[in-house]
């Protein structure tokens, strides 16, 4: 079973070097997006309520009240 999966991966992905390299670079692209968004989410969770985008609405509401 494991051998069947391994040989399928080998035949489909590794056997041709062009396919292998393409897979490496495309997965690098996907990995970067995933890594960046995950680390941003962790950062936002750790600094919740302290960033400008979290407190922006208070000042925006105030501005509108001043205009009225």
């Amino acid at each position: 079973m494991a051998g069947a999966i391994a040989s399928a991966i080998y035949q489909g992905l590794i056997r041709r070097n062009a396919v292998f390299l393409t897979a490496i670079f495309s997965s690098a692209f996907a990995f970067e997006i995933a890594y960046d968004s995950a680390s941003n989410r962790i950062w936002d969770a750790m600094n919740r309520g302290r960033q400008w985008k979290d407190i922006k609405y208070q000042y925006m509401v105030k501005d509108e009240e001043d205009d009225e």
Binding site: S7, F20, S27, A28
Partner: protein
């Protein structure tokens, strides 16, 4: 002197005596091992399993061999190599990107790089001076007479020959940097011999299109990049 020679002869004698004895010891050792092998009749390798009895003593590494199919081991190796490639590609990209981002302009510089002006408030025949990137910018709403005057001049004979239509996007709006091309003073508007700008520092006269006509300045007043996104707004930068 005598002592040292005596000690050296003694040492030499010792060496001569010791050598034969050590040789004899080695020989006896070899003899003893030979006897032991003979008694056992064959060399028992720790690697061979008992059932195999080959005359060649090849160590048996089957205990260490992988039980998995060879292809899956191969795929694992390639997967590790590919993962290293992935990690180094991401790392190289991040490094290059950090250097390039470091070189680009910061947000506060970009915020000052463009200025937006409402043109509806500028009446015809009036100058407006605004500050853009630390420099004054002249905006003049020219009258039709002034446009005609700017176009009627034979610009080919001027010091810095430039046609009026090359200096303006819309003829009624003249936009240019208010820095004298001589030594960088700020010229005064609506003055000078040619009805345009006059630089008080060294007496350069610019006409209604901002072209140098008289005085020491070598070039016309510089025209910045600007655009009209709609009828009543001007964006410089």
């Amino acid at each position: 002197m005598s002592l040292s020679s005596a000690s050296s002869t003694l040492l030499r004698a010792c060496a001569r005596q010791q050598l034969p004895t050590s040789r004899a010891a080695i020989a006896s050792c070899q003899q003893r091992r030979g006897v032991a092998d003979a008694s056992k009749s064959s060399f028992e390798s720790p690697f061979t399993s008992a059932k195999e009895s080959s005359t060649y003593k090849i160590p048996d590494f089957s205990k260490y061999a992988s039980k998995k199919p060879p292809r899956s081991n191969q795929v694992f190796s390639y997967f590790m190599a590919g993962s290293l490639g992935l990690a180094s590609a991401v790392g190289a990209k991040a490094t290059v990107q950090d250097f390039l981002v470091n070189m680009s302009a910061s947000a506060d510089v970009l915020a000052q790089a463009k200025v937006e002006i409402g043109l509806a408030t500028i009446p015809e025949g009036k100058n407006v001076i605004i500050k853009w990137r630390g420099k004054p910018v002249f905006i003049r709403h020219r009258t039709q007479d002034e446009i005609n005057e700017a176009n009627s001049i034979e610009w080919q004979t001027l010091r810095d020959p430039q046609a009026d239509e090359d200096r303006v996007q819309k003829p009624e709006w003249l936009v240019m940097l208010g820095v004298c091309t001589h030594l960088g003073c700020v010229p005064i508007g609506e003055s000078g011999d040619f009805g345009g700008w006059f630089c008080p520092c060294h007496g350069s006269h610019y006409d209604i299109s901002g072209r140098i006509r008289k005085g020491p300045a070598p070039l016309n007043l510089e025209v910045p990049q600007y655009s009209f996104p709609d009828e009543d707004t001007l964006i410089i930068g």
